[in-house]
Symmetry: C2
Subunit: 149 residues, 2 copies
């Protein structure tokens, strides 16, 4: 295998030999101003490690899936919705997204939110909320306020 042993941080949360990718295919799901970088993806590892960055006031897709996310914030601050709870998150906080729980990350308006996400290399596709799911999520005041913004 030809994986480079040392890949330096180039500043501004970009790395040597790591392309900055679109978060998802445009139109595939609702999101705003998010990039994706795959930091480690080796067939001999059971997981991948990715870095996502949400631009100021941007947000990831509201979604759920059977696979877990193990997240560490490494840049900025924002909020995350996990099930019926909303957490304020900042640098080096840890977030565990359980199986099949609706979740979404938002960056505060004054700067980007960047986080590492460890995920199983083999995993199911994310599900998007139906109109019925959104109605159910909207029953909880905090969640309704979060996803409405």
């Amino acid at each position: 295998m030809s994986i480079t042993t040392h890949r330096g941080h180039q500043g501004d949360f970009t790395w040597e030999e790591v392309p900055v990718l679109a978060y998802k295919q445009a139109g595939a799901a609702p999101f705003r101003d998010v990039t994706r970088q795959v930091l480690f993806d080796d067939a001999a590892l059971g997981c991948q490690l990715r870095y996502f960055e949400v631009a100021p006031a941007g947000h990831t897709t509201l979604e759920r899936h059977a696979h877990l996310h193990a997240v560490m914030i490494i840049r900025g601050h924002g909020q995350c919705l996990v099930g019926e709870r909303v957490f304020a998150v900042g640098a080096h906080d840890l977030v565990h997204i359980p199986s099949l729980i609706w979740h979404q990350f938002r960056a505060d308006a004054d700067g980007p939110l960047g986080f590492l996400c460890m995920v199983n290399a083999e995993r199911d596709r994310p599900q998007l909320p139906s109109a019925e799911d959104l109605l159910a999520l909207g029953q909880c005041g905090l969640v309704a306020e979060f996803i409405r913004r």
Copy 2:
């Protein structure tokens, strides 16, 4: 499962509900001034994410094993030996430790070196160098200088 969704960073690279552990059992292997914190260890994930911190001028064990390490430095700076190469490492650099390659991390004298390490949950035990291995490693000038310090 009762994994806490949000565990805040408490400052100084410690986290809510995450105990600061000994790096290894005392006497099990040579190392100096290293702590270990297991950040994510869920049976549904193929990998664990750990945080290791090496105190100023400390070092991890010189070892090798079949399993890989996927490392991101998140605190301070130092050096790492990977095979016959020595790299200066600093915040957010990425290090990929291949299978069965001798490796060791050292913190610079002026501050701690802290890094995340993603590793397969199921893995082989580390091997320590024999006298013969050390002799072979010492054939390379850079490596000899590194492991002699």
